[in-house]
Amino acid sequence: MIGDQYSWGLLVVLGSAVIGFTALSLEKDDLHRLLLVDLVEIASIGIIALIGTDLAEALILPGLVVGIAEILALSQIYLMKEDLQDRPVRIPAIEVLQESPAPLILSTILIVYGIILSGFTGGAVAGLGALFFIAARSRSEDLHLLELASGLSWVLWIAAFFVFMFLPEYWYLALMGAAVGILIKVITKMSLMGVMWEAEP
């Protein structure tokens, strides 16, 4: 069943890639280029999704993470290159965001659901919650502490990986370590983004 529609799906996704790349080759403005690169990333996720097995899903997650990580680094390089680093960012002047408990409730829901999910997806969901909270509350957190937490959780995750490979009989321990490690790692990375908003009070 997947085989019948594979080529049709590929036709459309590759077609969108052709259009996106053509636009990219004609674009002159740097920020527009960044947005268009984001567009062609979508096409690559589409090609992976068309495999349609569990493997496809396991390949989509790394693909997504690579994309967002590089976009973050590039946006920062762009700001430095254009000398826009020191400009203040204002929180969108929406009343809901500033005075009400709405961000608190929303981020709590996201963080709780993310921790229940745990693992990779949970990290992204909970991280979104944390990011939303920090960005809305215009609070500056300690960058070093977050980086330390993320580094430690990375070590936890690597240790779990080696348990899986060399001491397979302790798979249960390794599973818990990996799931928690990657959860903390992704959350802290996403919160770092929130800190970078550095909104003026």
Binding site: L14, A17, Q76, F120
Partner: protein, 149 residues
């Protein structure tokens, strides 16, 4: 003469992205012309969907703490593959017994087919990928901090 002009065009790094994008567009166009591609039906980690199961899109079989059958490339390299898939935490076991609609939430927990692939059989992928995340954030936060001394 022409080579000189080409090399001068290439050596301006502003023109780098257009050249690469054009090459990608041409190659994707050729790929479209060479469709259809074969789709091999016996894939690794295939899906089987059981709409009646409480683990709905991710029910890959087996009671907890027994080894489930999953199709991997080198079964001899991962002797414990299949245990992770079948494992349910007590919380998710309770969820599975109450409702039919939390399959994805349950599989998001430690345990489940994706954890099997991401952590166990294809763990090296995830190591590399978290490293990419780490490096990219290191670049971003280094530049960010340099801007505000």
């Amino acid at each position: 003469m022409i080579i000189q002009r080409i090399s001068r065009f290439i050596s301006n790094f502003e023109n780098l992205m257009p050249i690469f994008a054009a090459a990608c567009a041409v190659l994707a166009g050729i790929a479209i012309l060479s469709l259809p591609f074969v789709y091999t039906e016996d894939q690794l980690y295939p899906k089987n969907i059981d709409r009646e199961s409480p683990l709905d899109p991710y029910d890959r079989g087996g009671p907890p703490f027994t080894q489930a059958d999953i199709v991997l490339q080198y079964p001899e390299n991962s002797p414990t593959a299949g245990f992770v898939t079948a494992y349910l935490t007590p919380f998710s076991w309770a969820l599975a017994n109450t409702t039919l609609h939390t399959g994805t939430t349950i599989v998001g927990h430690p345990g489940g087919i994706l954890d099997e692939i991401l952590y166990n059989t294809r763990g090296l992928d995830t190591v590399v990928e978290t490293t990419i995340l780490f490096i990219a954030f290191a670049i971003a936060s280094y530049i960010f901090r340099k801007g505000s001394p």
